[in-house]
Structures are given as C-alpha cells and as structure tokens.
C-alpha cells in the first residue's frame, strides 16, 4: 500500500514539477535563514554565521537535486528529455532524418511484408489439433505426370493394416461439382472424404457436425460439409445453413456443418462430401483395383510414434505390396512412397520462392542498415565536438550511449511506422503471389507476430547503430583544448565505414545477380514458342458431362449441344473458325495412359511409354493454330461407326517412329487404368502428325500426345476454341451469351485467350523476378549513394592534406586519381565478395531458373560491369570535388 501510494505520488510529481521547485527553494532558504539567525544569536559575526550555515547545509543545489530525484521519476524524465532532445536534433537536420527514415522504411517494410507471408504460409502452426502430427503420403513414379500419382483404395487398405505407427488414415479425392441454384450455376472444387477424415485431420465444426464413419459406404444419405471460406463467400455466413439441401450435379445433398478455417491439400476446396455422392467411388473398380489411383492420403502419427518410425514402417509395407502385386508396379517406373510432414507438404511449392524473397529482403535490410550506420557515423564525427563537451560537463558514457540509443530508436521507429505502411500494400501483392503456390495464402496477415517482428527488427537496428558509434572518454578535455577543431575522425571509424561500403556493394552484386538470372529466366520463358501459329484465339472450357452418369445416350445428347454451340458461335461476326476438343490448347491434359505401337515390343526394363489423351474436331487444329506436319486433319467422316483414327504429335512420332513414316501405322492405349474409363484399347490408324505445343506452361517438358476424333470418343471433357479475324477477346461476351442460351445451368468460367493462358502460366514468376529486380535496383542506388558519401566525407576530412599536397606540387589529376583509387579499392573488394556470394546464391535458386545456367557468364559479367559503372560514377563526383580544392583557401582556413 505505502509503495503504491509513493509511486502514485512520484508519478504526480512529474507533472507538478515547477510549483514544487519553487516550494523546495523556499523551504531550503527558510532552513538556511533559521540556521543563520541561530548562529548570530550564538554571537557569531553575520558573515561568519552565514558561511558556517552554508557549510553545514552541504550545498543547497545538491540538496535540491537529491529531493528532485526522489520526487518524480528521474529515469523516465531524463529519457523523455533525451527524446525531446533527439527529436529536436533530428528536426534540425531534416535531410539526414528523411534519408535515414526512408532508407529504413524500405528495408523494414519489405521485411515485414515478406515475413508475414513466410509466417502465414510456412511457419505458423497448423490450425489442426496437433497439426505437427499429420503426415502426407505421396506415391511417385518416373516420367511425366509421375511426381504424385496418389494411391488406390487397396493400397490405402494395406497401409491401414500394416503401418501401426499411423494412428489414423484419412482418404480424400478431389472432385469437381456444379452447384446449381435458382439463379446461377457455379463450378465448385470439392473433396470426397472418408468419414474419419475430420477426426484424423483434427478439425472441429464451427456449425453443425462433420462427417463420421457412419457416413461411409453405400446406402447412406449424401452429406456436405462446407469450408469456412466458401460458407462466408457463398452463403454470407448464414447460421441456418445446416439442414438445407444443395443441388450438386443434379443430386440433392444435405449440408451437415461448416468446418473451422483450415488449409486443404493439394489445393483449396469449397466443400467436402461423403463418398456416396459418387457411385464411382463405391464401385468395385475403385475399391478393388490396385492401379486405380485417385486417393490422397493424410495420416496422423499414432501416439508416441515418430515420423522416422512411420517412414520405416510405410517403406516395409510398400515393399511387401510391390512383391505381392508385381503387375501393379511396373519396374521401369520406379514406384516410391514418401512420408512428408503435412505442414511441409502444404508449403513445399511456395518454400523456395518465399525464402528467396525473404533472403532478398534481408539483404535489403542489411544494405539499408549499413547505409544508415554510415550516415550516423558521419554525423557522429560532426557531433564529436558536442559529445566531447557533454562528456566534459560530466555526462557519463552510459548517459551518452543512452542519448544515442534514444535518438536511433526515434529514427528506426519512424522508419518502422513508414515501413509498416509499405508492408500493408505489399501483403496484398504477396498474398496473390502465394495463392499460386500454397493453399495457406489466406493465412497471410500483418498480425501481432509480424508487428512484433518489425519492432524487434527496429530495436535491433537501433542498438546496432548506437554501438557502432564511438564515444569520447569520460572527462576528455583534450579535444576542447585543441580548440574543438574537427580532426579526421578515428582510424577505427574510418575502417568501419569502408567495411560497410564493401559489404553494401557485395550485397548489391548478389541481389543484382539474382535479379539478372530471374529476369533472363523470364525472357527465356517468354521466348519459348508455344508451337501455335497465333495466340489470338479464345478458349472456352465447358464440361457438360455429369461424371456420375456415363451413358451413350447422355453423351450423344451432349455432343448435339456442343455441335449447336459450334454452329451458333461460328455465325457470330468476325469468327473464322470454331473447333471442339477435350482440352484447351496450351493446357495440359489430365488424362494420360500407357501406349503401345503395333509390331513394336518394349525392351526389358524399359518404362512403359505414356501419352496424353486429347480429342479434337476437324476444325480444332486450324482454330487453335496447331500446325499439321504430315498427313491429314480429322474429317467429318471420322464418325463413331467408321474406322478408328488418331493424330499424334511430333514427340510421340520421334519416340516411336524415328526415321520411319508414322502415317498408316497403328497405335493403341493400353494398361490397367484404361479399364476404368470409357476409352477403348482398340487399334487406331495414325492419319496425321502435328507439331509440339507447350501444354502446361513454357517450361513444361515435351509430352507425347494422341488426338482422337471428338466424335469418336465419349465427351468426358469439352470446350470451344474460337478464332476470329481481329481482337478475339471482344468476342468473349458474345460467345458466353450464346453458350448460356444453349446450356443455361452450366457454369462458364475461364474464358481466356491463348495469350492470357500463356501470361497466367508465367505471372507468378514474373512477379518474383520483378520484386527481386526492384530489391536489386534499390540496393544499387543505396550502395552508390553510400560509396559517394563515404568518399565525399573522406575528401572533406582530408581537405587539409589535399591542400598541402597541391601546394607541394601535386596537380589536379594526381589528386583526382588518389580519390578514385580510394573508391576503386572499395569497389573492387565489394565486387569480389559479391561475385563469390552470387555464385552460391545462384546455386540456391537453381530450381527457379529456366533456360539459363546458375552461373550464366552473361549475367555475371553484366552485373559486374553495371555495378562497376555505377560505382565509378559514384567515385567520380567526390574525386572531381577533391580536384577543385583551392590550396590557398584550405591553408588559410586552417
């Protein structure tokens, strides 16, 4: 109680300072007067009485100071005084303050924004209960499309029975649905899940319930759990949603609940359904066929089990499977299974790009901190006199250090405030970048953790800045007696400045090299030929098929609809050609099978060749601009009843028919998987060869493709390819209207020109390259200003010396050369260190490059030349100034 009271009194004391000071003076004076009176009464002479009283008092001023220390909160008051002083000092040098604050803001802003992205996507703990116990299982094979082939139900069953270190295995397959409502139809991304899915994942409902094992199997009512995101977006968070019916692909499904916000893998989904929605998922093929792989597996480690145990066990079970089912694991494809922490799986595609950006941002921070350190060092030299005077007047080293710290804190916090504003803008940009790479992008937030990071960064920089400055020794009078003339500053300080300049140049070179490599990657990517004759083509993917109803009658009806769309769009003004096909040009096909050629056997151990399946109408090739190299296009006579024909692409022709004419040869799809599709394994005669096209992006490897006549195969997928005489994007609206009139309930999405598709596939990389380039340019500017500043400072500090040299006969050229050489040494050092750093940095980002070697000599030489050029210009300015020094004036002024 008494301490609280005392503390409150002291806080109050801070605010009643002036009145209390007067009061105290009066009180002490009264005391003194009484003492003097007493002394006189004792018979002393008034002068002696006064002197004795003063002696006894022990000094009025010191007493007043002692009381004052007791009265308020001296520490806080003096910090406040320091702060006031610091702000006043900064106001007196607005240019310095502005440069420092902006430099810091750029560094802090970039770091804050990118840190929040890295945290949101890679570091933040998963929202799932014990999310670090979740593992993702991935089966891979060699060859195109083999990175993740997923699992079949029998495989999952074997893992469930054999791997006891996996406490629960959730099955999940991606499924695309059309959600119909009274006024529209949208395509939603859904997941079909086993009843235990949510229990294994450790997710809770925010509304209603989640699926349970009782939702598994045939004969149960179909149910749907909405993701939080979709519930908010589509139903505006309607709390009465549970129990309502949704129409999905014509079937009625009951909403049972809404799941808490959480990332789904491999991609974000809108809803999760039980398997009964898809008859296919309950069919014998799905449940019994080991090669029918379409299930993603996420498991929870059993209590006490480590991920290493799980890996060992899974590998053992998998080896046993491969032994027992030789037909399901073609030895040439090298089947393998990896057990990956779920969090790593979620972040794996974003990891390299985000850490690259984080590294680049850290470099920018190093450069801006180094640059600010240099500025404060230079300012420190100018302030040396002030600090010496303060030291001489009794300010201790700690007090001076604190003054500097307060001043630097003021600077960094101003920088941080501005930086956070920059970061607010940056986070939006980064979220859209990360959305391309990770389902967790919506977790990116400028939250408390990010701001704490910013604050920690600011304080760290402030501490650093305060301790690079050297302080005068306590009670130094030497400098004052020397007339306070500024000397050249200590050698240590000078060396430190130079080291900082070298570091900045080196870091700039690394950033520039990274930017150069990524920019060249972008150029290479944009120069990759699509293989098409033109990009002025509009594509309109349009799926009419209900995947649960595959019948010839439905298919015939759908084909009639496609034909009608083709006819009506062809009639629109400006349209030259309209083709139909399963997959749009430049898009990768999601359907591929093993292929075989008549009369050609596989060599032993050779991986079974695969080819993408695509269908095309006779007009498709002309509409898309796919060049026909040999033979003929499909014709209107290639109908269901007529002879089976196929057109292959150049890659497939090269693989199978090197030095032969493929026309007239026969090819067929084969393999176990074919059994689960409506596609036949009949022999088909090759009637044409097309050029290769870059399906799936400019950096996608060449893929073997077999085209079938659109009319001869079931239209599981479909779409329109529209070519016009000019400005094809203007046709999008009219074409969409036409299609909507024909099929009002089918969602129409992704109506894009080929140019847009091409652009989409490189946009995230372009953004990354642009950010790194921006950082690089920023770094070079800061480094150039830094080198010029240090040299200019060196010149002004050496004015005297230069004056003496000139009066002793050195000409302007010699002086200029002297300064240039000084800068040249720093530049060369920075370049050397930077090149070594860039060499290693390039190896790290190798995975992001395309068409350019990590040690691309052109880039490295270009970067070196550019940095050297900028550096030399930066050196020249102070060198010219040095040469203009008038020895007469210099000598006189000293």
């Amino acid at each position: 109680m008494r301490h609280v009271r005392a503390a409150l009194a002291r806080i109050a004391g801070v605010f009643t300072k002036h009145r209390a000071d007067d009061d105290l003076r009066d009180e002490l004076q009264a005391h003194l007067d009484m003492e003097i009176t007493e002394n006189i009464r004792r018979g002393l002479h008034p002068d002696v009485a006064r002197r004795q009283a003063l002696l006894a008092s022990g000094g009025l001023t010191m007493a007043a100071e002692a009381v004052r220390d007791r009265r308020g909160l001296p520490w806080i008051e003096s910090v406040a005084a320091d702060m006031t002083y610091a702000l006043r000092a900064l106001r007196h040098s607005p240019a310095f303050t502005a440069v420092v604050v902006i430099t810091l803001a750029l560094g802090i802003g970039a770091n804050t924004a990118i840190f929040s992205a890295v945290r949101g996507v890679l570091l933040k703990p998963l929202p799932h209960r014990d999310g670090d116990r979740l593992v993702y299982l991935r089966q891979s094979t060699d060859g195109p499309g083999g990175a993740n082939v997923s699992f079949s139900v029998p495989e999952v069953r074997d893992f469930r029975n054999g791997a006891k270190s996996l406490g629960g295995i959730a099955e999940y397959s991606e499924w695309s649905h059309t959600l119909q409502s009274d006024n529209d139809a949208v395509r939603i991304d859904a997941g079909l899940v086993t009843g235990n899915f949510f229990a294994v994942m450790g997710l809770s409902p925010v509304l209603g319930r989640l699926t349970l094992p009782s939702d598994d199997g045939p004969g149960v009512p179909p149910v749907v759990v909405l993701t939080h995101e979709f519930w908010m977006k589509r139903f505006a968070g309607d709390s009465n949603i549970v129990g309502t019916q949704l129409r999905l692909d014509g079937a009625s499904v009951t909403v049972i609940g809404v799941v808490q916000p959480a990332p789904f893998f491999p991609s974000r989904v809108d809803a999760l359904l039980n398997m009964v929605v898809s008859p296919h998922h309950l069919s014998a093929q799905m449940v019994e066929a080991r090669v029918h792989r379409m299930t993603e597996v996420i498991a929870r480690l059993a209590p006490g089990a480590s991920i290493e145990q799980a890996r060992t066990e899974v590998a053992a079970v998998y080896a046993r499977m491969q032994g027992e089912h030789k037909d399901a694991y073609d030895p040439g494809s090298h089947h393998r299974v990896a057990v990956i922490p779920f969090k790593d799986a979620l972040g794996e595609r974003a990891r390299l790009t985000l850490w690259l950006l984080m590294g680049a941002a850290a470099f920018v921070m190093i450069i801006s901190a180094a640059s600010v350190a240099n500025l404060t060092l230079m300012r420190g030299v100018r302030r040396e006199h002030e600090l010496v005077v303060r030291a001489a007047l009794g300010a201790g080293a700690r007090r001076l250090r604190r003054l500097l710290l307060v001043e630097n804190l003021a600077l960094t916090l101003m920088g941080a405030t501005l930086g956070v504003m920059i970061a607010i803008g940056g986070v939006g940009l980064l979220t859209s970048l990360a959305a391309r790479y990770s389902p967790r992008s919506n977790e990116i937030r400028l939250d408390v953790a990010a701001l704490a990071f910013t604050l920690a960064l600011s304080v760290a920089v402030a501490l650093l800045l305060s301790f690079v400055a050297s302080l005068p020794k306590e009670g130094t009078f030497a400098s004052i007696s020397a007339g306070g003339r500024r000397t050249t500053g200590s050698l240590r300080k000078h060396r430190l400045q130079r080291t900082l300049v070298v570091a900045r140049i080196a870091v700039s070179v690394v950033l520039l090299a990274g930017a150069g490599l990524l920019t060249r990657t972008m150029i290479q990517l944009s120069e990759v030929s699509t293989g098409l004759r033109t990009e002025e083509v509009l594509t309109m993917p349009l799926s009419l098929l209900d995947p649960t109803r595959l019948s010839p009658e439905v298919d015939a009806a759908n084909k009639a609809l496609y034909d009608r769309m083709q006819r009506e769009i062809s009639a629109l003004p400006g349209v030259i050609e309209v083709g139909l096909g399963s997959t749009m040009p430049l898009r990768g096909s999601s359907i591929n099978f093993d292929v075989k050629v008549e009369g050609k056997a596989l060599a032993a151990g050779q991986a079974v060749p695969q080819a993408d399946f695509r269908t095309a109408s006779p007009e498709y090739f002309r509409a898309a601009g796919i060049p026909l190299l040999k033979g003929r296009e499909f014709s209107t006579t290639d109908l269901p009843g007529s002879a089976r024909v196929a057109i292959i692409n150049q890659t497939l022709a090269d693989n199978f028919f090197a030095g032969e004419d493929p026309l007239g040869k026969r090819i067929a799809f084969t393999g176990e998987v074919l059994r689960f599709t409506p596609i036949s394994g009949d022999w088909r005669t090759i009637v044409g060869v097309t050029g290769n096209t870059q399906d799936g992006g400019p950096d996608a490897g060449p893929r073997a493709v077999v085209f079938m006549p659109f009319a001869q195969e079931m239209a599981m997928l479909g779409g329109l390819v529209i070519r016009a005489d000019s400005n094809v994007s203007a046709l999008a609206a009219a074409s969409t209207r036409t299609v909507r009139r024909i099929v009002p309930t089918v969602p129409i999405e992704n109506v894009l020109t080929l140019a847009q598709i091409k652009d989409q596939s490189v946009a995230p990389r372009r953004l990354t390259a642009a950010l790194i380039a921006l950082f690089g340019i920023l770094a070079v500017i800061i480094a150039a200003v830094g080198i010029a500043g240090v040299l200019a400072f060196s010149v002004s500090a050496r004015t005297n010396e230069i004056g003496i040299r000139m009066s002793l006969g050195a000409d302007r050229g010699t002086v200029q050369w002297m300064i240039l050489r000084e800068g040249g040494v720093l530049l060369a050092g920075g370049l050397a260190f930077g090149m070594v750093g860039a060499f290693f940095a390039a190896r790290v980002i190798r995975g992001l490059l395309f068409g350019v070697a990590p040690h691309d000599p052109t880039t490295f030489i270009g970067v070196a030349v550019m940095m050297a050029a900028v550096g030399i210009v930066a050196c020249w300015i102070p060198a010219l100034r040095a040469a203009r020094i008038d020895p007469a004036i210099t000598m006189r002024s000293s």
Binding site: D26, M34, A56, S57, A63
Partner: protein
C-alpha cells in the same frame, strides 16, 4: 569532541517520526536540530539527506506538510505526523528493539557453556 558520523541508512525515517511524535508539528530545521542535539552532535544532517527523507515520508503518507508562520514570525514548512505515521512509528520501534536485542545477544561477551 566525538567523531561526527553520517546517519545510518534506514534509521533516519525512524528518528524523524519519533521527533515529530515528541515535539509535534515541526519544520525541517527544527527536526535537524533536534536530531543533532539528541545525538549529542555526533550526527550531522545536511539538507541533501534530510529533505529527501522528509519527502519520502510524505509520499508514503506518514507525514503531512503545510506552510505556517513560525514562532519568530517566519514562514516555514511544518511537518506533522499522520495516523498512519504513528502506526508506522510503533511498528518500526518494535522492529528496531527486536533487532537491537538480537544484535546485543549476538555481540554479548561469550559465556562458557557448562
């Protein structure tokens, strides 16, 4: 003349409170004189020691301060004991006696144990 010593840490507050209890409201000069006299001038009390101590007691609520006319018609700040101050004095006196007894027992000439 006995050697003068500085007042021991922690004892000054007790001395001030006791002085105010015995003499009633008093100004700083009076307190200082009284303490010096009671100590037979073995203690010296300079302003820098006395006034922070008085302020601390005031902040803790054990004394109140008020400007008044002194006996010889001079304005002076008078300190007076509060109820809390009285209680504190009693407590500190008790503690001091206890401490003094303990120290005395400790420093007493050693008796051989039987």
């Amino acid at each position: 003349m006995a050697e003068k010593q500085d007042v021991k840490q922690g004892t000054l507050a007790l001395m001030i409170l006791r002085t105010l209890e015995v003499l009633g409201p008093l100004h700083g000069y009076g307190v200082a004189r009284r303490i010096e006299e009671t100590s037979k001038n073995r203690l010296t009390l300079n302003y820098g020691t006395l006034y922070p101590a008085l302020l601390k007691l005031e902040q803790e609520g054990f004394v109140t301060a008020e400007w008044r006319q002194s006996e010889n018609n001079r304005r002076a700040k008078y300190y007076a004991l509060t109820a809390a101050g009285r209680k504190q004095l009693a407590r500190e006196t008790r503690e001091w006696h206890a401490t003094a007894d303990l120290i005395a027992a400790f420093l007493a000439p050693r008796r051989e144990s039987p």
